[in-house]
């Protein structure tokens, strides 16, 4: 019974064969999925990044403003559109409740995307490919990205950031 003390010596009671087999299989499986994690990290080419720096919100903002001034090619809904050169460092700033700038990128080119927030936590969810990363105030998160399909992408904020959270939607254009 699970509500009475076990018999003395229960620790020496041997396992049933079925139970032994089950535990062995489960253990092998656990080892397998454990090994699979670093294996996928190396073999797969879609990982979260290990590159990040601490940065103040003001500092990040000046860098972003600079980046916008240098690369601005237009404006949409009051938000600047930037067309940075392939291979360069690009920036995305989250703040209540907008993402800026709108990034205009080239397909199959690689960029270093710096992601941060200048107020509260936000979440960068790229729609429709459903890839999600946190935009954390105080941290510059560097993601090396290569857009492989062209089109219009949305950046949906998926970390609760206040009452207009659901309207915090930005845009990435890939041509």
């Amino acid at each position: 019974m699970s509500v009475t003390a076990p018999q003395p010596g229960f620790f020496d009671q041997p396992l049933h064969k079925e139970e032994k087999i089950w535990i062995a299989l489960a253990f092998v499986w656990c080892i397998f999925i454990t090994v699979a994690m670093p294996w996928w990290h190396i073999a797969g080419n879609q990982n979260s990044s290990s590159e990040f720096y601490k940065i103040s919100g003001e500092h990040f903002s000046t860098i972003v403003d600079d980046f916008i001034a240098k690369n601005k090619t237009g404006e949409e809904a009051g938000i600047p559109v930037v067309s940075p050169p392939p291979g360069s460092d690009i920036f995305l700033r989250g703040q209540q409740w907008a993402w800026d700038p709108i990034l205009d990128l080239k397909v199959n080119e690689t960029y270093r995307l710096h992601l941060s927030s200048i107020d509260v936590l936000h979440g960068m969810s790229i729609h429709p490919i459903n890839m999600n990363f946190e935009a954390v105030p105080g941290w510059d998160y560097v993601l090396t990205i290569t857009p492989t399909t062209s089109g219009d992408f949305r950046i949906i904020c998926n970390e609760f950031c206040g009452v207009d959270h659901h309207n915090m939607i930005g845009k990435i254009i890939v041509k």
Binding site: M1, S2, V3, A5, P6, F10, F11, Q13, L15, H16, E18, E19, W22, I23, A26, F27, W29, C30, I33, T34, M37, P38, W40, H41, G44, Q46, N47, S48, S50, F52, A77, V120, L121, G123, S125, H127, P128, N130, M131, N132, F133, E134, V136, P137, G138, W139, D140, R154, I156, C157, N158, E159, F160, C161, G162, V163, H166, N167, M168, I169
Partner: protein, 506 residues
């Protein structure tokens, strides 16, 4: 020191000697838990009917406010009050011992009640629209954090009473030999609870002081790391408590005996040792930690905590099969299953809880907690889908099942509306399975969690997820409706039993 014998009664069904103060504390904690479940359940339904965009019941402010309250009322209040009842049951009642330091038990209850009330009031006043995670720099009124701290301190005291009772039972000879498995599992839960709640203290005390304007804010990533050392590890309290209840339900419903006590106990130890580090899977797509660190930690140190669940996943069904076969249901491979007491809500709750937790919740948890897959699961509806399978369909349903035994044993009343009780676990279990599955499905399209309007129609760049997602959310809403009816039935049956249930005379 001999406990005063007049404070004990002997349960005619189980033979347990039940200590008066233990009984009272179990009753009051369980009733409080159920009140929170009722409130949280009504809110949950309203939330689901809002996420079902065709209905869109609440406005945005109310949605976020009630979402904060739902998280607190359910994950914190309902679950932890009920766990306090379980701790007292698994110590004083199961060991037929006196509850050591009853006044500390009362202090536990008071602190948790006052803390919970402060938090709820702050949320309802609109001072804490921050979700139960309350990530800095979003700030709530400082009383909100104080409420959480009081609640957590209360819960720690409950664990202290539990251990004191176990020790007293042994030293005073009320219990001899090893601890019963249920008590052992509860002890594992209490050990994890103490570790977890101290993370809560480490993160919430400075945050409280920050909200009061006394100290600077802590780093956001530090907050997130320590918060999840509390927020996720505390889910393992729930897992341990639930598994202990599973063993208890196996024994109470079909008289099962653990196959191999050594194995079951070792599995609980694996939980204690390896579960905490896995909390880092909440930070898989965050800056601040290297990929090597993340893969190692979220590998649960070789997934050994997962192994523990795999062990219980064999040991519990096997034990009930053996018990049912002993009753003579030996024809073919499945006669035992056919002849199982499907009309006993304790049994159906056990089975549905096992399935919901194991297949829907456990597997998706391990999958979403993988470094790469987390990228496509983080903060979308896959996550609430996953944890409504674990903590709702699993833990909550198991707690509902055990209630049908607690009512006659501890409240000494026959369960009211037995016909409704028969179908209650099915409605709740199946409703929540549909609900969680549909949520996870919608999450696969990137629909985010905690969003009042996934389409962002007021934004410059509205999003269209297409009709498949609309249908998924409708199915989610229907599942929520069925589950909420099941949940409401549970509350009605429990309350009716207390008020009008036939008294059982000892």
């Amino acid at each position: 020191m001999a406990a005063k014998s007049e404070k004990f009664r002997t349960c005619p069904t189980t033979g347990f000697k039940i200590h008066g103060p233990a009984e009272t504390l179990i009753q009051i904690n369980a009733v409080t838990a159920i009140v929170f479940l009722l409130v949280g359940g009504i809110i949950g339904l309203a939330l689901a009917l809002t996420r079902w965009q065709a209905i869109h019941l609440l406005n945005d402010t109310l949605f976020y406010r009630l979402l904060s309250l739902h998280g607190i009322a359910m994950l914190v209040a309902w679950i932890i009050f009920f766990e306090m009842a379980i701790l007292y049951f698994a110590s004083a009642v199961v060991l037929s011992a006196r509850l050591a330091v009853p006044w500390l038990g009362w202090l536990q209850y008071l602190l948790m009640l006052v803390g919970g009330a402060i938090v709820a009031v702050q949320i309802l006043l609109g001072n804490a629209d921050v979700m139960f995670t309350s990530y800095v720099p979003l700030q709530a009124h400082h009383l909100y954090y104080l409420g959480i701290i009081l609640f957590a301190v209360g819960a720690i005291l409950g664990c202290v009473v539990f251990f004191a009772t176990v020790v007293a039972a042994k030293t005073e000879g009320a219990h001899t030999g090893y601890l019963p498995l249920v008590t052992f599992g509860a002890a594992a839960a209490a050990i994890i609870a103490i570790g977890t709640l101290s993370h809560g203290a480490i993160v919430f005390i400075p945050t409280w002081l920050w909200a009061a304007g006394l100290v600077p804010m802590m780093d956001v990533e530090v907050y997130r790391l320590i918060f999840w050392g509390f927020g996720h590890s505390s889910q393992q309290i729930n897992v341990c408590a639930m598994v202990a209840v599973w063993y208890l339900l196996g024994t109470l419903t079909v008289g099962s005996v653990p196959l191999n006590e050594k194995v079951c106990r070792s599995a609980f130890v694996l939980y204690i040792l390896f579960i905490n580090i896995a909390s880092e899977h909440h930070l898989l797509v965050d800056p601040g930690l290297s990929a090597a660190h993340k893969t190692w930690n979220t590998g649960y140190f070789m997934h050994l905590a997962v192994l523990a669940s795999m062990i219980h996943a064999f040991s519990i069904p096997a034990a009930v099969e053996v018990a049912l076969r002993k009753k003579g249901y030996t024809k073919g491979a499945f006669e035992w299953l056919k002849k199982a007491p499907w009309g006993n809500p304790g049994w159906s709750a056990l089975v549905l809880s096992l399935i919901g937790f194991g297949f829907l919740g456990g597997i998706t948890g391990v999958v979403y907690g993988t470094e790469q897959i987390n990228i496509i699961a983080h903060n979308n509806l896959r996550i609430p889908g996953h944890f409504h399978a674990t903590v709702v369909c699993g833990t909550t349903l198991a707690f509902m099942g055990i209630t049908y035994y607690v009512l006659p044993l501890i409240f000494r009343r026959e369960v009211a509306f037995p016909q409704l009780a028969k179908i209650q676990p099915y409605l709740f279990g199946i409703g929540m399975m549909v609900f969680s599955t549909a949520m996870m499905f919608a999450g696969g399209f990137g629909v985010s969690r905690r969003s009042w309007d996934m389409n962002g129609v007021e934004s410059a760049f509205a999003v269209d997820f297409g009709p498949v997602v609309d249908i998924a959310l409708a199915i989610m809403g229907i599942g929520a409706l069925v589950g909420a009816i099941g949940g409401a039935l549970y509350c009605v049956i429990a309350v009716a039993t207390l008020l009008i249930g036939k008294k059982i005379n000892a």
